[in-house]
């Protein structure tokens, strides 16, 4: 799966979990840029990402995900 395909799938997850179909992902996007991205929805988003891509993050990996670009890169490296 290439980066664009990963971004497309992540966009669907973000739009669904944060309840906003207009969300367009940016590498520098963080929780403070997205309405409804709080502790509970963050947890649900990560769970959904793991499920959709069939991956599992370690706790240390989760805590390195500061922005959307980090999430894309982490998913990409796990799928390689």
């Amino acid at each position: 799966m290439n980066r664009n395909e990963i971004c497309e799938k992540l966009t669907v997850i973000f739009q669904e979990v944060f309840g906003d179909n207009s969300i367009v992902l940016r590498d520098d996007m963080t929780a403070s840029d997205v309405e409804n991205w709080d502790s509970l929805t963050h947890m649900l988003m990560i769970t959904k990402v793991e499920e959709v891509f069939g991956i599992k993050f370690k706790l240390k990996e989760l805590n390195k995900l500061k922005m959307v670009g980090d999430l894309i890169a982490s998913v990409e490296s796990k799928l390689q």
């Binding site: 929780a31 709080d38 509970l40 929805t41 947890m43 649900l44 990560i46 989760l62 805590n63 390195k64």
Partner: protein, 218 residues
């Protein structure tokens, strides 16, 4: 009172810290929001809180390193967590650290169950201000209340805050707990905001449907 020791918690204090978190969450009621949110029993949630604390991630209310405890003759009698918001190894908001810990330690099916309850808990999810000193989860054993232990622990947190140049301290408290509110007022805190949920289910989930943000400038 000369034999009171105020010190940072260690992993050896984990039993007391689990009791502290559960008691503070319930705030004198039988409503244990965390367990209800994930459709889990209190005993199971205690086990997961222990696993979460055991990860020893710094920078949130589920961090052993955030807690300061009061000890008398080898017995821990009071605890209170505090940290500087957003100032941790990875520079993440404490809410994200907390959700990473919970999501990582709880079974997937229980995490998913929380989705249906989002509207119940959302009104009382108060965003924490970056760079402020945040206090959360205080508890004192019943026989040791009213003796100033909490004030001494707050004083130790204030010293920590001042050492690193942080001047604003905040704490959240449910409005069903006048003793805690009074105690914070006695220690210089004042209510600065009130958060209320009009979802009728919130008050069966949490100790109250009203949560107060109290603040102190040091």
């Amino acid at each position: 009172m000369e034999d009171v020791i105020i010190r940072k918690a260690t992993i050896e204090d984990i039993d007391f810290l689990v009791d502290t978190i559960v008691s503070a969450e319930k705030s004198g009621t039988n409503n244990f929001g965390l367990a209800k949110l994930f459709d889990i029993t209190e005993e199971e949630m205690r086990m997961f809180i222990r696993a979460i604390l055991d990860e020893e991630i710094d920078g949130c209310e589920f961090s052993v390193s955030s807690f300061i405890v009061a000890e008398i003759r080898g017995k821990v009698v009071s605890a209170f967590a505090g940290w500087v918001e957003g100032q941790n190894e990875d520079g993440l908001p404490s809410a994200i650290l907390k959700s990473n810990l919970i999501g990582y330690c709880l079974p997937l099916e229980n995490v998913k169950k929380s989705q249906a309850k989002y509207d119940i808990v959302r009104p009382l999810q108060i965003e924490r201000e970056e760079g402020t000193y945040q206090l959360e989860y205080s508890y004192t054993l019943p026989d040791y209340r009213g003796k100033g232990f909490l004030g001494q622990i707050i004083g130790a947190h204030e010293k920590k805050a001042l050492l690193i140049g942080v001047k604003k301290i905040q704490v959240h408290v449910f409005d069903n707990n006048p003793a805690a509110i009074k105690s914070y007022e006695n220690n210089g805190f004042a209510v600065v905001r009130r958060f209320e949920s009009d979802n009728p289910e919130t008050s069966s989930f949490f100790p109250s449907n009203v949560e107060l943000l109290m603040e102190k400038n040091i």
